[in-house]
Amino acid sequence: MTARLQPVAAAAIGVFGFSMLATGTTLGSGFTGAFTPRFGVDGLTAFFLGVLGLVTAPTLAFATRYLEPGRRGRITSVLTGVFVLVLAEVVCARDPLTFLAGWELMTLLPAAIILVSRSDDEARRTVFLYLAITHLAGAFTWVAVLLAAHAGALDSTGAVAQGSGLQIAIALTALVGMGTKAGVMPMHSWLPRAHPIAPAPVSALMSGVMIKVAIYGLVRVLVDWLGPLPLSVGILVLALGALSAVGGVVYALFQHDLKRLLAFHSIENIGIIVLGLGACLVLRSRGDETWAAIALAAALLHTLNHAVFKALLFLGAGAFERATGTVEIDRLGGLLRRLPWTGGAFLVGSLAIAGLPPFNGFASEWVTLQALLHVPAAGHLGDGVAGALALAALAATAALAVLCFVKVTGLVLLGPPRSEAVAAATERPLPMRAAVVSLAGACVVLGVAPGLLLGSLVSLAPWPAALPTAIGLHLPGTGSLPTLGIALVLVAVTGVLVVARGRRAAAPAPTWASGQLVEPSLLWTSAGFTKPLRLVLAGVLRPERTIEVRATRGVVQEVAYSGRVPQHLDEQLLAPAVRVALRGAAHARRLQTGHLGTYVAYLIALVLVLLTAAKVGLIG
């Protein structure tokens, strides 16, 4: 019963958030640096509550049929509900203590959910790594928020002087701490490990909402609390965004596990959001406040869009997993025919994440491109070149996402089924279908009428900025993107051409394979489709492959091929850090002898040190 009420409550949160955003009212108290619990809702919070509700309601509805009915399922369901509440608490918190407490709970709850739903060794190791990375980085979040609170930046904007060391220190610690939580490269290592092993609805919440709450934190600190930042911070944010966008999608291309692939795409989309944020910071420090506000709106619009289509894709992956028993993309196929509703919605999500018209990803990527183009248009050499490079990186990212998602669509939804279980797959029950279809509907609506939202997002900037509300995107200095017109042209022309083509098919014939019979072993795989790119980028990616040929008396019996694309950032950055940490821990363990006498000696030594310090006058 409670599980059925969860989606209704989540939908109420969403409606509340978007109506607050539309009316522009605030509720509760404002931010304060004092350590007393306070809550409030302003425009930015309202927007993130809207995102939370829009994504969570279908996800929780999906979960009612996805989770097994047993005890594990019930505990997971309850913890998921608490997780959603904690996410809402973080964006509503108005003092450092509540914010940081929620921030930590937001990290811990998914770990608990993963451990409830899976208790194998691999899951436990992954959860440990996830907690280790996010907590070490979480320390930087604490430093950033407490420093800002101490300096009084929470109480009044402009409390931290522009260009001061304190301002840069807060910005950098926030970037490390919150950037890790958002999955910004090179602090992303936990994300592609932790997201895939959670149950599908929780993966959808983690990718759809949790990492967006980290973006909320970044916007709050970098745009709201700190005031105009020095140019260098903006350029650093642009660079991080470009690295995440390109790096995320490139590594996504070489994943064979659908959920892991989607997790890497979250890194890519976080990169696109961070690119918008970086453009905002650079343009703001250059004094172009109109376009800085549009860049911020672009980042927020992409935040919403990514939340919607990524939740849709994760839920779709969960539905496919339940229908076929696997998420290995090379073993699926033909699911569009077998699961027309879920498959159709998944196709819409794929088109949206690939940034294709008339869906929502296209609209927000277009605004982000425009914002990045305005960085060089401001006419300064250094940041101009950075902006142009980021622009090219985003264009390449969009093309890479097309390559990746046409592959996913092809391997999962189209072509012949690649195993018996897939051939026998059937459509999922109504709540699961309704969840993905409603998210697909949101992709269409946000793609056709993004202008209705963009105006309110522009006015979220803490400096005065406004944009007339329209259905399409009409920005100054652009050729404008009448999204409704584009959608109508596409649909109308396609319809006319389909009618004109008519049904004149002769008898069907098998596909052409140089006259051979098409056998399952001839079907293309993910590795084959991405081979041109792997070869082109071989210098950067350094793919590894081994071919073993077993021959007896000159006759080849068996050829075994295996290839992989190693994660260089993990191997060069994370692995040494882990080694050093483990070595340090081994030394620290020597302090723990287990003898009572040693501990008493520690206490006496501590008292002596403190007394000496007091005597000398260091303390007290």
């Binding site: 277009w366 491109l369 390559l403 092809g410 404008s480 584009i486 051409l497 394979a513």
Partner: protein, 305 residues
């Protein structure tokens, strides 16, 4: 005047587009000492294909069936976006240069998804190469368009045509560098040598032709028209932005056919004198273009600071 540019844009984009690849083939045959087909050959092929029945592939679904129509629709949209002259009114699809990126990608997505649907290895081979090269084409496209947009202070294509008119903008090398980059975009988007060979009939070397293998009849006609329309879109952009042009709208409209013919002749000349390069080298070639466009941005920034 507006009515004329409107008419030229619609009629030109929809009806005259097949003339462009026809012209390239005609010039190429002449340059190679052959008589060759007339420039009207693409129309004959379209007529022949429209009258033929098509053979569906066993087991193919709705994506395979919709792909030609979606591809053609995306190209119609691109034709509506690209203006033939500076004063051309908007046709309800906007006039934005950066919107073209997603619109052209939609066609590629549709055709590649159809290749997956029929599970044809040759089609997928061509499609995977096409999409790999498109990554670098898109980056080069965006940077070269950025040069023009910076010079004209807008991404509105009709205003860009006006903003890059005259000789004053050519006093700095930025637009010239953008033109070099855009030339490579033209070659890649139209599937011409040295990046792709439109005359190939060997499955293993196909790029753009590969995904069309399983289509026949009206479907193939739509896809061939789409390829011609892609010629129209990039060649009109090249002619009206990256070739020196006059500010007068009448002169722009009058000169457009001549410019398009010259560009087609240029493509024919390029196809005659260069061989197709290895597929893995094509991204490098396009990266050179992207670097040229980036230099164009830098020189514009240096000029105004």
């Amino acid at each position: 005047m507006n009515a004329l540019s409107l008419a030229l844009q619609l009629v030109g984009g929809l009806a005259l587009a097949p003339l462009l690849p026809g012209l390239v083939q005609y010039w190429k045959a002449r340059l190679q000492g052959r008589r060759g087909p007339t420039p009207l050959q693409p129309y004959r092929e379209l007529r022949r294909l429209w009258g033929k029945s098509s053979v569906d592939v066993e087991g193919a679904g709705i994506v395979y069936r919709l792909a030609p129509a979606v591809t053609a629709a995306s190209l119609v949209l691109a034709v509506l976006i690209v203006p033939v002259a500076s004063g051309a009114p908007s046709l309800g699809a906007g006039r934005d240069a950066l919107a073209l990126l997603g619109v052209l990608a939609l066609g590629r997505f549709a055709v590649t998804a159809a290749s997956w649907d029929v599970a044809n290895g040759f089609a997928l081979q061509g499609a995977s190469r096409d999409l790999t090269i498109a990554i670098f084409t898109d980056a080069t496209f965006v940077l070269s368009v950025a040069v023009a947009a910076l010079v004209a202070h807008t991404t509105n294509l009709a205003t860009i045509v006006a903003g890059t008119a005259g000789s004053a903008v050519w006093s700095s090398p930025s637009l010239a560098l953008g033109a070099v980059a855009f030339l490579l975009v033209v070659v890649a988007e139209t599937g011409r040598q040295p990046i792709d060979n439109p005359d190939t009939h060997l499955e293993l070397t196909m790029i753009h032709e590969g995904p069309l293998l399983e289509y026949a009849g009206r479907d193939l006609a739509l896809l061939q028209w789409s390829a011609a329309a892609r010629h129209w879109v990039v060649l009109v952009l090249a002619a009206q932005i990256f070739l020196p042009h006059t500010p007068g709208v009448w002169a722009q409209l009058a000169a457009l056919p001549v410019r398009l013919a010259i560009l087609c002749a240029g493509l024919a000349l390029l196809e005659t004198f260069t061989a197709k390069i290895r597929i893995l080298l094509a991204p490098r070639l396009l990266a050179v273009g992207a670097a040229a466009a980036l230099l164009g941005v830098v020189s514009w920034l240096v000029q105004i600071t």
